[in-house]
């Protein structure tokens, strides 16, 4: 019905921890609201809307300007709250009265399909006036939602899986179907909601959509009990997961984040179009080093990812390759229910057919992944440890008899990652966190020794427990040398074990190195700063790999 109801839903979901209760609350919401608003609710809750109409900074400036509020005061408040939309919501409580609330019954649909999009066609002055007007006529309890949508920061602790479950319960249809229906683009409308809750399953309607991805679980020791022959082994590539779909002759490249990236990789689209059959492939997109026959670092791929319509020279400089590891559909037939080992046979068969039948050579951009065959588990372990040599992250282990189901189902696929590299480093800076960590110092920078100097080499903010974070926060406040805005430089005293996945030369950093996925794995209270590693050790790690 209204934005009001959605604000209540948000507040309920925000304060419920039990999954079952969340599903129940969602179900009730869907039952008691209009299809069009349900459609928008799903759009928001599944995070399919990340469009930013205005930035957090703009929002803060606007507030400051309208209500003649000092900018520094807003910034100070931000440090405590950690979210621009929420800061402004809280500050608005002082500024808006409860009298004129003509927007108190505005529907979610009207807000999202009309009021907010219309802001973009206004000039700045009109836009500002309009936002002020909305603030002053919208009930206070709805400000947070409005500000969050406006700044594209609407997020809530509800997974897509949970939405899927509640819809599936609502209409008594298998979760897999709902999950599939929710894939890809979702344009909020009465139709899209009706399609979602349609009790009749019509597979052709799903044509434009990727299948829900099957995700790997972290390796568990109990797998060692099984025969090595029950599993298929592959290298774990460090690229982006892609579902490459060709249906009715049209190619679509879907990422795991359900984004269509055709425009970033036109050469792949072009080559794959040459294949005569229709198909759905699951695989990895990488920037390939054809000389060494291994993938380039992820940083190379990043140069391609956010770029649409790349020039020929970019295409040549960063040559991509799609490595398929699964075949999910052939010529309209969904084969996800076939065992993995048989799907693999089909994948190999079709690949060799396509290789031979396609006039243009496709192998320079499309391959199927090599399988590896460890003799036993200890051999698998050895292979895993060697994975850095071919620039992979470890092994993917797949049960041969498994079907391709959706989500992170247990007992089907596992990722067996190579142990991280580690260095002991000294904490030298801390910065206030945002979001859930607002008001605490949670973003840390670490340094290694070079001669007698500590040189910053990595920043990390994950890995400590909440108790450790609080303890460290207290220590930080007492041991600050200097404050620069939100950053504090600290007395060098605390040593932490930092783990990371990759290390490479970087001219941008003073240390000359850059590491990937740095995180804190241990608070080394037993170590003094002189026990921390020096940069030499980091260089040695680099040599070991290349």
């Amino acid at each position: 019905m209204s934005l009001k109801k959605f604000a209540e839903l948000f507040s309920d979901l925000d304060s419920i921890n039990s999954t079952n209760n969340k599903i129940e609350v969602l179900r009730n919401y869907f039952i008691s609201n209009e299809p069009i608003d349900n459609s928008w609710a799903i759009y928001l809750l599944t995070g399919k809307s990340n469009k930013r109409f205005i930035s957090g900074r703009y929002l803060k400036n606007l507030f400051s300007q309208i209500y003649e509020y000092p900018q520094w005061l807003i910034d100070t408040c931000y440090l405590k709250v950690g979210d621009s939309a929420e800061v402004i919501t809280l500050l608005l409580k002082n500024k808006t009265s409860s009298r004129n609330k003509k927007l108190s019954n505005i529907s979610l649909n009207e807000l999202l399909s009309k009021t907010i999009p219309e802001l973009s066609i206004l000039n700045e002055e009109e836009k500002n006036l309009k936002i002020k007007n909305i603030w002053e006529t919208l009930p206070e309890d709805n400000h947070l939602i409005f500000n969050k949508i406006l700044t594209g920061t609407f997020r809530i602790g509800v997974s897509i899986g949970l939405i899927t479950k509640s819809i599936s319960k609502l209409i008594n249809i298998d979760e897999e179907i709902i999950s599939h229906r929710l894939m890809g683009y979702f344009k909020p409308s009465v139709d899209s909601y009706e399609f979602l809750i349609n009790k009749n399953i019509n597979l052709e309607e799903l044509n434009s959509k990727p299948f829900p991805f099957l995700l790997a679980n972290t390796f568990e020791d109990k797998i060692f009990k099984h025969s090595i022959n029950d599993f298929q082994f592959e290298w774990k590539y460090d690229g982006i997961r892609i579902q490459l779909i060709k249906r009715s002759g049209n190619i679509s490249l879907w990422t795991r984040g359900q984004e269509l990236v055709n425009e970033s990789f036109p050469e792949l689209v072009e080559k794959m179009s040459l294949i005569k059959d229709d198909f759905v492939l699951d695989g990895e997109l990488l920037v390939w080093n054809f000389k060494k026959k291994i993938a380039f670092d992820f940083s190379f791929l990043q140069k391609r990812l956010n770029r649409k319509s790349p020039t020929k020279s970019i295409q040549i400089k960063y040559p991509i390759i799609f490595i398929a590891y699964d075949l999910l559909e052939v010529n309209g037939r969904d084969i996800r229910e076939i065992k993995l080992e048989n799907r693999r046979i089909k994948l190999e068969k079709y690949y060799s057919k396509w290789q031979n039948k396609t006039e243009n050579n496709i192998t320079d951009i499309f391959r199927i992944c090599d399988l590896i065959y460890p003799k036993d588990w200890s051999d698998a372990l050895t292979l895993k440890e060697k994975s850095r040599e071919n620039n992979t992250e470890g092994l993917i282990i797949k049960k041969k008899t498994s079907i391709y189901s959706s989500g992170r189902k247990k007992g089907i696929w596992w990722k067996y990652k190579v142990d991280p590299m580690q260095l002991d480093a000294v904490l030298i800076y801390a910065k206030g966190g945002s979001g859930r960590r607002a008001g605490l110092y949670t973003d840390y920078s670490f340094a290694l020794w070079k001669d007698q100097e500590l040189i910053k080499f990595a920043s990390a903010y994950s890995g400590l427990t909440n108790i450790e974070i609080k303890e460290l926060d207290k220590w930080i406040r007492k041991n600050t040398i200097e404050k620069f805005g939100p950053v504090r430089s600290l007395k060098p005293e605390m040593v932490f074990e930092i783990s990371f996945e990759k290390i490479q030369i970087s001219k941008r950093h003073k240390s000359g190195i850059a590491v990937r996925f740095p995180r804190i794995t241990k608070w080394r209270k037993d170590k003094k700063i002189n026990d921390a590693d020096n940069l030499e050790n980091a260089y040695k790690l680099m040599k070991k790999i290349s």
Binding site: S15, N17, P70, K80, E86, V87, L90, L91, N466
Partner: protein, 328 residues
Amino acid sequence: MKTNQEDLIRYKDGNLYCELADVWIDPSKPVKRALITHAHFDHFTFGCEEYLSTIETAILLKERVGDNIEIKTFDYGEEFKINGINISFHPSGHILGSSQISFIFAEEKWLISGDFKLQKDETCKKYEIVKTDYLISECTFGLPIFKWDETNKVANNISKWIINSPEKTSLLFCYSLGKAQRLLNEISQTDFKGNIYSHNSIYKMNNCYKELGIDIKDTIKIENKNKMDELKGSLILLPPSLSKGSYLKNFKNIQTAFASGWMSIRALRKRSGYDKGFAISDHADWDGILEVVKKSEAKNVFFHHGDSEALSKYLVSKESINVLSFGK
């Protein structure tokens, strides 16, 4: 601007001290003579030779720490002299018995606000505006993001929270003294008419309030419950110290909430570990502090308890009020 040794009241060893009268205000270590603003434990320490407070504060304190302390009591507004300095207690609206303390010496007036609030609270005397030259104010919530909702709005939200989960036992955590009684008073005026239980530490304070003539809704001591089933759909008030550890294992099918001013911030709410947070405080919000500063007509203001940087800067730049800091 820093203060100096000649100020009537200054900071010494982390406490407020009036040298001429040789009295300490809410000292954290044993001293000769202690003025106590209110009966919360973080404002009290054992071992002082002499305590001075309002009658209500004395009774509450004795209930909490036992009878063997010597407390001299005064009515609100009653002036008494120590070494020629006129001292008096005035209502601060924080909890029952809580007070501001006024010092007058040679025509110079000093006022220590104590913990205070301006919001409605039927369980204690309303904050009294006292005019002063120097004001020492708390600023626990000294940022404009703190703006309290009407007390009855929060109470209605609590009531809705309980009523909407009839299958559950609702555990509401709050400070045993002051907050608990204020909540009981407010919740009894909402739609929630079910049983309310309270932990012994709260139960004791309820009785104390009743003896002092405050109308507090009857609760059942949680220690006296018969069987689990009777707790379904009811409300239990507990002190925050019991929220961690094994105490919660005594209950089945619960939902938890914390009533505190800090719960107005989503990040703190999420981090607190409670299912729900209700933003209700016995301290003044930003507007409350500003109002007190203005109405006190103080020319010079000091802040303690809380981060006062922003508040000070605001008063200096926007209101042209002289904000001083204690030379520590």
